[in-house]
């Protein structure tokens, strides 16, 4: 008699069960139970945010090139586990061909953002003309801890497409996997785990977004929220409650994560803050004097 695997969540570089002890069993179109999956509670969100906050300083302080190397390694690890992902995606109603495509695009997307890690800064920085003796420049800095609900219809590519630009930009992330297609997301945590990604940079929860959304929006230690579904009630709730600590709220209308429009450095920019510095300049030679 086959015993269903219990898929665990990913918090702080470890694979705990949900603190609530609850689980649910998503079903595919053929009526097969996919697995026993953790039904996360607000306390798992709390723990994940603590991990993400703990990892934020170290991750944003990494050299951009190093972040790039780690994203690239993720792509390599994903490639290495192709067979397992193929199997899981097909359990979740993907055809063999579309599963193959989903994996290929996910690998490509990771490599795409790996490339951007040390380049978006040049694109989004500026030297600003000012009418005073200052060297004035603006640079992007990571927003901090970002929380996201992964696209519900895309089991792997959606999650990767949301995650990659956020962490490429030096943020840390708590992301909730697709409720009905969570298998690939949890297996992707194992990819992250073997990619030299420091624990806590990406935390993956499973369960029902409806239970968690309000806590996410209320949370004072989350600096931005990314949401991709069309649920207007959820959007309103996110918009209103996020005012508590003025967290950034980003709604993406994207439904097809396979097109070129689903990848862009502007996704990185969404979770960046622009810092402007006024640096006094003195023309010693020209003025003939110092201070």
């Amino acid at each position: 008699m086959p015993v269903l695997k219990t898929y665990k969540i990913y918090i702080g570089g470890q694979f705990p069960r949900t603190e609530s002890g609850r689980y649910y069993s998503p079903v595919n179109k053929r009526g097969q139970k996919l697995a026993n999956v953790c039904l996360c509670s607000r306390k798992d969100l709390r723990d994940a945010v603590v991990s993400a906050r703990g990892a934020a300083g170290g991750w944003s302080g990494r050299a951009a090139f190093n972040r790039s190397q780690i994203l690239y390694r993720m792509a390599e690890m994903l490639e290495g586990r192709r067979a397992q992902f193929l199997d899981e995606l097909q359990q979740m109603d993907y055809s063999a061909a579309s599963a193959e495509e989903e994996i290929n695009l996910s690998i490509d997307r990771l490599i795409y953002y790996a490339g951007w890690c040390d380049k978006y800064q040049q694109l989004f920085s500026s030297v600003n003309p000012v009418g005073s003796p200052h060297f004035n420049f603006s640079v992007p800095e990571p927003t901090g801890v970002v929380a996201a609900i992964a696209p519900q219809q895309s089991a792997l590519l959606g999650l990767v497409s949301i995650m990659a630009p956020i962490i490429a930009g030096g943020n840390t992330l708590v992301i909730m996997a697709s409720e009905n297609k969570p298998l690939a997301a949890v297996t992707f945590a194992e990819v992250l785990h073997s990619s030299d990604l420091p624990g806590g940079v990406v935390n993956i929860l499973t369960g029902k977004p409806g239970e968690i959304l309000s806590w996410m929006a209320d949370h004072m230690d989350i600096n931005a929220v990314v949401y991709t579904e069309k649920d207007e009630t959820a959007k309103k709730l996110l918009r209103e409650k996020s005012a508590g600590n003025l967290k950034r709220v980003h709604f993406y209308d994207q439904t097809d994560w396979k097109t070129d429009k689903a990848e862009s450095p502007y996704f990185i920019l969404d979770c960046q803050e622009i810092k402007t510095t006024w640096h006094p300049v003195e023309n010693n030679a020209g003025s003939g004097g110092g201070y």
């Binding site: 945010v49 906050r53 209320d218 949370h219 230690d221």
Partner: protein, 309 residues
Amino acid sequence: MAKAINNIRPVYQPGFAASPPIDQTGVEERASRFTKRSIKKESKTNGLKLVLNMIDLTTLEGKDTVGKVKQLCYKAMHPHDALEGLPTVAAVCVYPSMVKVAAKALEGSGIRVASVATAFPSGQAPRDVKLRDTRMAVNDGADEIDMVISRGKFHEGEYNYVFDEIAAIKEACGDARLKVILETGELGTFDKVRRASDIAMHAGADFIKTSTGKIQPAATMPVTLVMLEAIRDFYYNTGKMVGMKPAGGISKSKLALHYLVMVKEVLGDAWLNNEWFRFGASSLANDVLMQLVKEKTGAYQSAPYFSVD
């Protein structure tokens, strides 16, 4: 426990060689049980306020400045003004050189000034230096003295030396209450912790305290349990209450609540106030405040919205 009551001797003779051996596995099992209690809602809020009221807000660093100590004293008096009905902390704990500053800053607030003394944290100094260290702190206005025992002498088996030293410091304290730091992380075994606790209490300690915070491991629940049981036995044998102060490594509210459960279940309600129980901590205060605000608003909190400790 019942046995101890029946065995009360007319004049209690401390025999340090006779400190009971400690069952390590049993203590660890028992200590882990205290973490299984569920404390929610109103009890949690009350528990957290009690924890806040039991904190010895501490700064013991080489880089301490007058400004840092003043700021800490302000925090002691105003933990988080946005939240009404908060108690203050119990005491501010500083080095002897900062006692004057703290005493002035806390004047009239009811918050006590605690000072470490006796060549804290190593205790490696001659006795007259330790006594002068203590007297200076007391003269400058310390209400409480946190001394360290001579762990080296203790390991050499010089229990009388350790006993006499504590007694001498106690005398130098005058009216100030004496907390005796055993530095359990350097003692090694629960048997030694128990013996050191017995020595300290018989020598006149008003409090026994686990650690300086400079050595790992610092306070743990099992080691605190051993000390609480020593306090309990001492109370049954002599009728004298002794306080307990775990210090170092207690930075989360949840853990602090586990400690309260342990105190209640080992010693009882009489010890559940800051006359008889303290937490030596600095970052614990902010975590407690964050939990209290969370209980009130329902939203998880973020450290940058609370004052620096």
